[in-house]
Symmetry: C2
Subunit: 416 residues, 2 copies
């Protein structure tokens, strides 16, 4: 099946908005086994009609986003109706939705907004639970008079309106049209601490031997999502292969990221975490507190960027720092154990390293980092990592490794 | 001038990579007064040739990215040469660059990589300082035989290779071709703490009266970049208008973000900052330590998520928390003053609020936050903000307001 995207919106071409809808739709369709054949971005205006016509000549399905709003430059609805020679009619259902939407906000429906209730004859309304502009679906027979055979969907531009509509309205229809659409499954295994090439090495040969399996890799925030799609049996067999080879590195099978997993594991155990960060500068605490409910598992964190802070607040002896250097196994362990003691938590993560771009030495180059985990009634773990590159990336990969250390302790699966 | 982008790469259509190059190029061209007319994304393969041909028929300039690498599915170079009927020749200069590049890494140049040294006759090599694949420029006369008049640029896909090449090779030529290209200026005024609609209200009428001015707004990380482009005199006049209306809210005129500005202001004064964060969970410390050189101005930070942490580490009296609640002006002030004392810093920022989604009350709904700034030898400032919405957005806007409070104190411009 040939699917094309047409994204409308001058803001996309000016670069004021990054086109995240397109990537998201690409992923959703890939999960159905469909690769988007082409994506066209055009500004608001008459060229929308041209772009839709070109796509409809080539494709079986055209997904158009944007330009359904109330302002003068929102022309997608009218352009498509004109292209397909369809009259517009006021739709009572949409009008009711608009009236209810604005009544809730104590406002009347303006004339401009009323345009959104105009529906081309033969098109179906796709309800919008998160905004005023409904989507529209033009079955392929509406383009037959022009010699085309394309199903055309008009979708709102804002992601929080577009995404639920794609899931409930577009994907449901695509599944009906795809030969294996109804029985098709997709599973994402999120793998941490292993590079993409090592994952390929570990599992790809076996996975390629599974008939009907669509395999994809997506690198996201330092982890790799292994995407397994196809018939249930193929996905199950593939998941067993990946679990067998990389089981202890699989963070989640439901797209949850590691901080969500770790907060849940702590909450289930009624345990508390504290953090003592030097080079990551609060990244670990920040990630943990991104998770709703973090306050049940996280109470105390330190950002001890200066040596005196490590000494004063975590009780790291100054001689230890002088003897081994701030970036050392000894200091990482002392930081974690100090944080454990001064917080009363069950676990304490510490990090000390050289984020760069300056401060490296031949023995400890930029990117060197020690991570330690102290836990009540257990031996303290310490690992060394090396992540050269930008500060951003260093902080991301280091915090990732630290959170994984905690995940391994909580699951009792040992350091890797 | 009509400019089109053609981005190649199956990973873009699968959604595995978000197309940030396109937004970045859109912004760079907007600064030159050129709006990208269309953007087309196609997968690796034969369709690249079709997409380039279609764009070259419509446009004066076609920027193509991706598909210049050494692997089998990198077809952009060969597709363009075939389209324009140009023979390929081994380029000695590129070959030298490749040999030097790989010698540095102790490797020979593989046969696959050698393909990158093949240059279509008549095209110019655009040097790539950050990778192996050179860019290529096909002057418009090369497409004249096909009845087109399009300058075609082939650019590498990786952003760190593409961006410097666009700046040094593409923009230089565009400036020559644009009627006002040589004299055109662009200025970004980064405005914090004021919404886009308030900025429009404050300055747009006056700005619209300036002849030749191109005006744009770009919302980025909670701030608004006001983009002023056009002849020098127009940009100068416009900048004066914005400075007059919003002067104390302008963070930078060189695209630096607020944490960079604040770290520099502290470093210039030889002063130190410490942080005491509750609901932002380390976001402020994290942002400060994203800036290279942060260790000269930041030494001690606390993430006091629990009330006992506020008491134990910052000396906030438990009675104060019980009387006024953890989210109160009194507690925010006490946190900042405690952090100032326990760190020995010159300034201490504190934050206490309700990030949500749970924990709100009718008096203190989700999104309520108090921010305080204590400084040596100055009165403590405290401000209340309300930022409902997602946790992400709450943390972003709250840390933004906190950093702005510090910026105002450092510049002596008072609380807004």
């Amino acid at each position: 099946m040939n699917v094309e995207l047409v994204n409308t919106g001058t803001e996309l071409l000016l670069g004021d908005t990054i086109n995240t809808n397109a990537a998201w739709i690409g992923q959703r369709l890939a999960a159905l086994g469909v690769q988007v054949a082409r994506q066209t971005i055009v500004p608001d205006g008459a060229v929308i009609r041209t772009a839709i016509a070109e796509a409809a000549q080539r494709a079986d399905v055209v997904l158009v986003s944007g330009g359904l709003g109330p302002t003068n430059d929102d022309l997608t609805r009218e352009s498509t109706a004109a292209l397909l020679n369809l009259d517009m009619e006021l739709d009572a259902g949409v009008m009711q939705h608009l009236e209810a939407y604005f009544a809730k906000r104590g406002k009347p429906v303006s004339a401009a907004t009323q345009r959104q209730a105009m529906v081309p004859r033969g098109a179906s309304v796709l309800p919008n639970a998160f905004g005023t502009a409904p989507g529209l679906y033009f079955p392929a027979e509406l383009s037959a008079a022009l010699g085309w055979n394309a199903h055309i969907f008009l979708l709102p531009g804002p992601p929080r309106e577009l995404k639920p509509m794609v899931e409930s309205e577009v994907e449901t229809r695509l599944r009906q049209w795809l030969p294996d659409g109804a029985s098709r499954r997709v599973l994402y295994l999120k793998v941490t601490g292993v590079g993409e090439s090592d994952i390929v090495e570990a599992v790809e040969k076996q996975l390629e031997a599974i008939p009907g399996l669509d395999l994809g890799y997506c690198i996201r925030n330092g982890d790799v999502d292994v995407r397994l799609a196809g018939p249930q049996a193929a996905v199950d067999a593939a998941a067993d292969v990946v679990r067998g080879a990389l089981g202890d590195c699989i963070v989640s099978e439901d797209r949850r990221i590691i901080e969500e997993v770790v907060v849940q594991l702590l909450a289930e155990r009624g345990q508390w975490l504290s953090t003592a960060e030097s080079c990551t500068g609060g990244t670990i605490a920040n990630r943990i507190t991104d998770v709703s409910g973090a306050s049940r598992v996280f109470g105390h964190g330190w950002v001890t960027y200066a040596n005196e802070a490590k000494h004063q607040h975590l009780g790291v002896p100054m001689e230890l720092i002088e003897t081994h250097g701030a970036v050392s196994e000894e200091v990482a362990r002392a930081m974690a154990e100090g944080a454990l003691k001064n917080s009363g938590a069950d676990h304490a993560l510490s990090v000390t390293g050289i984020a760069g771009p300056t401060g490296g030495t031949p023995e400890k180059p930029v990117g060197t980092v020690w991570i330690a985990l102290a836990s009540k009634g257990a031996e303290t773990w310490a690992i060394k990592r090396f992540s050269p590159g930008s500060r951003d990336r260093f902080k991301l990969l280091t915090s990732q490794a630290a959170l994984d250390l905690l995940r391994r302790r909580l699951l009792g699966i040992g350091v890797r």
